[in-house]
Symmetry: C2
Subunit: 346 residues, 2 copies
DNA sequence: CTGTTAGCGCCTTCAG
DNA sequence: CTGAAGGCGCTAACAG
């Protein structure tokens, strides 16, 4: 009951394996009658080429890998969805590897991809894994999305976290808020660091004092942080959270504390995950077209792979910057509640 | 600049490829000195076995595939997350293949997995793909999660949709609601069909008339459906949606229509996706431990794979039933708002 | 304990 | 246009 091999097909079709291969790969010319005989045999045996064997001789796998730290939350889900769409559009399989807490684990994951993928997209908040990615993967095309600026000179995509954070704070200040507090992301996370830096910078520019509470990107931590902030002597009149999930947690904490949002405290998040427009008040945030970014990343990887097979291709070493866009919703005092699903310009 | 092969390592370590293989696979006995020499060479060349080649000779890939219709929404994200956890716990890679609109596409996806995976988890709402899964994959271990009862006799997991729907409706009726409307899922979806059947059955039992509006599992469709319902002459006093996303859409529609929830209209969803407890009013729903279900499914697949290699193993042909549990929250008139993140028993 | 040698299933020159 | 043969990188007997 074993799966049929190319030889079985050849035998049944009374041709050589070479001809079968030609028919199946579309390479080389085959006479119509033989082609039909082969197809018939393929059909009858419900033969499917063994991709492992094929990749061994072609040194292509038609598969790309995605290394990411976590599979939690909507951000990564959305990102993967975008990548998946682009991958399938290019006839590629997607293999994901997540939950890499530290650089060495991520490195191991990268290594284990060898022979399994034609290229890699690496999202690793671990600072030096940029090097690891490059070194360990041999000459494998790699697109970096580490959220660090150290990716320069290597194909990569980064989010303008500082610019986004500045925009968030300036918007709050323009609304007349002055005591803007920040809920930060996990220690060691480059993106979180940049968002905080942007916050500090914007507040300093305006001559306001800063107030930061640590979080870890989870909704629970946002809840705790906001609760702490509401217990302060001088209560902030706005909260800028380093990501949406924490902002949502904060929103709920405010509600529980009987603090009105946006009247008493305005809230701004970061990412614009799908849930941001579903909570009430709907969350003002910095939109990253997450799925679109994933799609774009995959497209670039595909291009990288293509050019790695083409000797005379100019190597892509661009570090593309994603600029988040401020989306004002109720949590910031927007009058219009926004419809639930399609009332916004995409 | 090509990646090192086992021969390069053997050469550098002054041993045969067999010894290198032994060291790396851990099989067979190797003298310590040789082992060290090999390790040194591996290190120096930063050698990593080529998984394609390995799988060709071992006929194992250490990879499992997941076929699913869609990557949209929290349900599948959560499910995949659970599977990923279990997969990595078993040292397996995960390859996902989504967006299969019809049975033939799903079948193609399954076929393209040959030689790429050791086993498959198939979630396909297309009725007859159960057969396809079995036929096309050769003797590949497959775990079905088609949401259909036709999976009996084959390793599978299904959700007790009817039981869940009945529980939902009975709860609403016990609250004194009598005009319970239903927002159904997409036509042709087995699970949606069962949930509707459960609704109809429970209403009939209680001697109430039924009222069904079609949806397609998206939030937008729930929004539309609820809007339609609110425009009816005799407005329902409760809505049971076939999944959470539609329930959330309905919640927002009610809000926009100025209808109070739960006072005027109670709402119940299905699935308990993470967002269910974040919306306000928090959504009453039928909880499926989604990630846990994914984990469980993967564990079963792993067992299937193991027993498929063991000639004298009793084949697992169980059809496991997941029984959703009613979780009462605000949208149904629960007094306690529930804390945002950990106030519930998990 | 270690080296030699077949394949695993497929693609791809290279002759015919 | 088609068939024969080598090799992709690795593992697994089988001899030494």
């Amino acid at each position: 009951m074993k799966a049929a091999t190319i030889r079985d097909v050849a035998e049944r079709a009374q041709v050589s394996v070479a001809s079968v291969s030609r028919v199946l790969t579309g390479a080389g010319i085959v006479a119509e009658p033989t082609r039909l005989r082969v197809m018939e045999a393929v059909e009858a045996l419900s033969y499917v080429p063994h991709s492992g064997a094929r990749s061994l001789s072609t040194s292509r796998t038609d598969t790309v890998g995605v290394i990411l730290p976590d599979l939690f939350g909507e951000f990564f889900s959305e990102l993967i969805r975008g990548m998946d769409v682009a991958a399938r559009a290019n006839g590629l399989h997607l293999i994901v590897s997540s939950s890499h807490d530290d650089a060495s684990e991520a490195a191991a994951a990268i290594r284990s991809m060898r022979g399994r993928v034609d290229g890699l997209i690496v999202l690793s908040p671990h600072l030096d894994s940029a090097n690891l990615a490059a070194n360990l993967a041999g000459r494998l095309p790699v697109l970096l999305m580490n959220g660090g600026a150290n990716d320069a000179g290597r194909p990569s995509m980064i989010v303008d976290n500082i610019g986004g954070a500045v925009a968030a704070v300036e918007h709050l200040l323009s609304l007349g808020r002055t005591r803007v507090a920040h809920i930060g992301g996990p220690a060691g996370n480059q993106e979180a660091r940049e968002r905080e830096a942007g916050y500090v910078q914007a507040m300093a520019n305006a001559g306001h004092a800063t107030q930061v509470v640590a979080g870890d990107f989870t909704q629970a931590s946002g809840h705790v942080a906001a609760t702490v902030l509401m217990a302060e002597g001088v209560r902030p009149d706005a909260i800028f959270a380093a990501n949406d999930m924490m902002a949502v947690g904060a929103l709920l904490a405010l509600q529980e504390a009987g603090v009105r949002c946006p009247e008493d405290v305005a809230v701004v998040g970061f990412d614009d995950v799908p849930i941001a427009q579903l909570v009430r008040p709907a969350l003002t945030t910095l939109r990253i077209e997450i799925a679109e970014t994933g799609r774009r990343a995959m497209d670039r990887l595909v291009a990288l792979i293509a050019s790695s097979n083409d000797p005379e291709a100019t190597p892509d070493t661009a570090c593309e910057t994603i600029r988040p866009r401020l989306v004002v919703r109720q949590s910031c005092g927007d009058i219009n509640p926004g419809t639930a699903f399609n009332g916004e310009t995409q």
